[in-house]
C-alpha cells in the first residue's frame, strides 16, 4: 500500500489527538496526586509546583473507624482472586461441555447463557439481597464473590466455548481411543491448548471483581468489609477538600489493572472475539 506523505501526516496528527483525549484524565490524576492541597485549589497547572508524596502516605497510613485503605485493598484482592478462580473453573468445564457434547436442552442452555448478559444488576440485587440475607451471607466477602459469579460465569463460559471450538476434535479422539477418561483428556490435552482463553477469562473476572461498585455498595454494610471502589467513593463525599490524597488513592487502585491490561490485552481481545463472534 502506498500512502502519500501528507496523508500519513494527518493520520499521525489525528492519532496524537486521540491519544491525548484518552490519556489526559489519567495524566491529570497522576499530576494531582503529587499536588499539595493549596495547589489543587488554585489555577490548574499540569506540573506540580511543589510536588509531594504526602497524598500517598496519607492515603496508605490513615486508619480511622471508617477509613482504612490497606484493609480495603486486601478485601478487593481476596474478592477479585476468588471471583477469578471460581469463574475460571466453572467456565472451563462448562465451555468445554457446550463445545463438545450434544445433549438434551443444549440450545435452551445456550439461550439462557446469552440472556444472562441482558439481566440488569439493579434488578438482580433486589432478590439477591433478600436471599443472601436469609442465608446470612450479606455483608460478607464470600457472598459478594457468589454475587459476582452471576455475571462473570456466563460471560466467561461463552468465551471459553469459543476457544474450545477452535481446537480440532481429532486430538481428543486419538487420546480417547487409548482409553483415557474424558476428564483426563480434558485436563492434560485440551486445557493446555487454551491457555490464552484461560488468561482472557481470568483477566475479565479479576477486573470485574476489582472494579465492581453496584453490588459491593448495596451488599457490604460495614466499612471493614468494603472493597476499594466503595472506599474511595466514600472519601469523595466526606473530605471534598483533599483531592491530592484522593487522586493518590485512585492511582494506587488503577495501576494494577492498567499493568494487567497492557500485558494481557492481546489475550482479552482474542477471547472476546473468539467467544462473541463465532456462534
Amino acid at each position: 500500500m502506498r500512502e502519500s506523505k501528507s496523508k500519513k501526516f494527518i493520520v499521525i496528527l489525528l492519532t496524537i489527538l486521540v491519544c491525548i483525549f484518552a490519556l489526559f484524565p489519567f495524566a491529570w490524576m497522576l499530576s494531582t496526586s503529587f499536588k499539595p492541597a493549596e495547589e489543587v485549589y488554585s489555577t490548574p497547572r499540569f506540573i506540580p509546583e511543589n510536588p509531594t508524596l504526602e497524598g500517598y502516605t496519607k492515603m496508605i497510613t490513615t486508619q480511622t473507624s471508617t477509613f482504612d485503605f490497606m484493609k480495603w485493598a486486601g478485601n478487593s484482592a481476596v474478592v477479585s482472586l476468588l471471583t477469578t478462580l471460581f469463574s475460571m473453573v466453572i467456565a472451563a468445564l462448562g465451555g468445554y461441555g457446550l463445545s463438545r457434547f450434544r445433549f438434551r436442552g443444549k440450545s435452551t442452555l445456550t439461550y439462557v447463557i446469552l440472556t444472562t448478559q441482558v439481566l440488569p444488576g439493579s434488578l438482580l440485587i433486589i432478590p439477591l439481597y433478600i436471599i443472601m440475607g436469609n442465608l446470612g451471607i450479606l455483608d460478607s466477602k464470600f457472598g459478594l464473590v457468589l454475587a459476582y459469579a452471576t455475571f462473570s460465569v456466563p460471560f466467561c463460559t461463552w468465551m471459553m466455548k469459543g476457544f474450545f471450538d477452535t481446537i480440532p476434535i481429532s486430538l481428543e479422539e486419538a487420546a480417547t481411543v487409548d482409553g483415557s477418561g474424558r476428564l483426563r483428556v480434558f485436563a492434560t490435552i485440551v486445557l493446555p491448548l487454551t491457555v490464552p482463553g484461560l488468561i482472557a477469562t481470568g483477566l475479565f473476572s479479576f477486573i470485574t471483581g476489582w472494579n465492581e461498585y453496584l453490588f459491593a455498595s448495596t451488599f457490604m454494610k460495614s466499612y471493614e468489609n468494603w472493597t476499594l471502589p466503595m472506599g474511595i467513593a466514600s472519601f469523595q463525599g466526606q473530605y471534598t477538600t483533599d483531592w491530592g490524597t484522593l487522586m493518590a488513592g485512585s492511582v494506587l487502585i488503577t495501576i494494577p489493572v492498567v499493568i494487567l491490561f497492557l500485558t494481557l490485552q492481546k489475550h482479552l481481545v482474542g477471547g472476546m472475539t473468539a467467544g462473541a463472534v463465532k456462534q
Binding site: 500500500m1 489525528l14 492519532t15 486521540v18 491519544c19 483525549f21 484518552a22 489519567f26 494531582t32 485549589y41 488554585s42 489555577t43 490548574p44 473453573v89 466453572i90 462448562g94 468445554y96 461441555g97 457434547f101 445433549f103 439462557v112 444472562t116 448478559q117 441482558v118 439481566l119 440488569p120 444488576g121 439493579s122 434488578l123 438482580l124 440485587i125 433486589i126 432478590p127 439477591l128 439481597y129 433478600i130 436471599i131 452471576t150 460465569v153 463460559t157 480434558f186 472494579n211 461498585y213 453496584l214 476499594l228 471502589p229 466503595m230 474511595i232 467513593a233 483531592w243 485512585s250 487502585i253 488503577t254 489493572v257 492498567v258 491490561f261 490485552q265 481481545v269 472475539t273 463472534v277
Partner: protein
Amino acid sequence: MKTKWKKKMEPYLFLAPLLIVIIVFLLIPIIKAAIMSFQYYYIAKPSADGNYFVGLENYTKVLSDEYFYNSVKVTALYILVTVLGRYLIGFGTAMLLNTKFLGRGLARALVIIPWAIPEVVACLVWILMYDQDYGVINYLLNHAGILSRNIAYLQDPGIALPAAMAVNIWKGFPFVAVMLLAGMQSVSSELYEAADIDGASGWQKMRYITIPSIKPVSSIVFLLLIIWTIKDYAIAYVLAKGGPSRATEILTIYVQQTGFRYFDFGKAAAAGMLMLLISLVFTYGYFKLLNRGEAVH
C-alpha cells in the same frame, strides 16, 4: 452397561457446576424478583400479614410514577448518544491504528487506558476536572476563548447528562477500537492490493472492503454496547447521584433507589421486571436483525 451409563452422564459432569450457578444465582433470583413484583414488600413499613399478594398494584404504582417515565427517557437518550459516540470514535481510532506508521504500537497501548481505569476512579477524576471553580476543563475552555464563564457541569440539570455521556464515551471507545481493529486486521491484505491495482480510492476501500469485512464484529460490538449500557450504573451514579433534579437518573438508578433508598422492594422489583422486559424485547429484535443479515449474504 456401566460404562455406557457413564458415557451418557459425561456431558453433565462438565456442565453440572455451570448449571448450578445458573439455577441458584440467576434463575431462582429472577423468579423471586418476579414473585416479589406482585407482593407487598415495603421494608420501611412491614405488614403484619407478611408479604401478601397485591396483584398488579406494584406495576400500576410504577406506571403512574412520572419519575419512571423520566428515567426511561433519560436511559434512551443516554444509550443512543453514548453507543453512537463510542462506536464512531472507536471506528475512527481503529482506522487510524490500522495504518502503518512509526509509534503505532505505543499508540495502541496508550489508547486502551480509559478502558482499564476502574469506573469509580474514572468518575472521581472527571468530577475534579469538571469542577466549576478549579476544574481544568473550565480553565482550558476559557483560555481557548470557547467559554466566557465557568460552567458547573455536574450541578446544572441541563448539562449534567451530556457531561456524564462524555465520560461514558471516553471510557468506552477503546473497547470498540480494539475490537474493530482486531476485525480489520483479519482482512486479507490481498484485497486491498487488488483494490489499489484497480485504482480504488481510500473511501471506496473503506466502503467496499473494510466495512463489509468487519460486519460480524461490528454487530456484536453494537449488541454488547447496548446491553451493557442498559445495565450501566456506576458512571451516572458516582458522577451525579442521578441528579441534579433527576437529570441523570437512568433506569438502573431508579430501580436501585426505589429499593434501597425508599425501601419499596415490591415496586423496585416491578420496575426491574419492566426494565428486563424492555431489554429482552430489544435483544430479541436485534438477534432477528442479525439472522436476517446473515441470510442475505
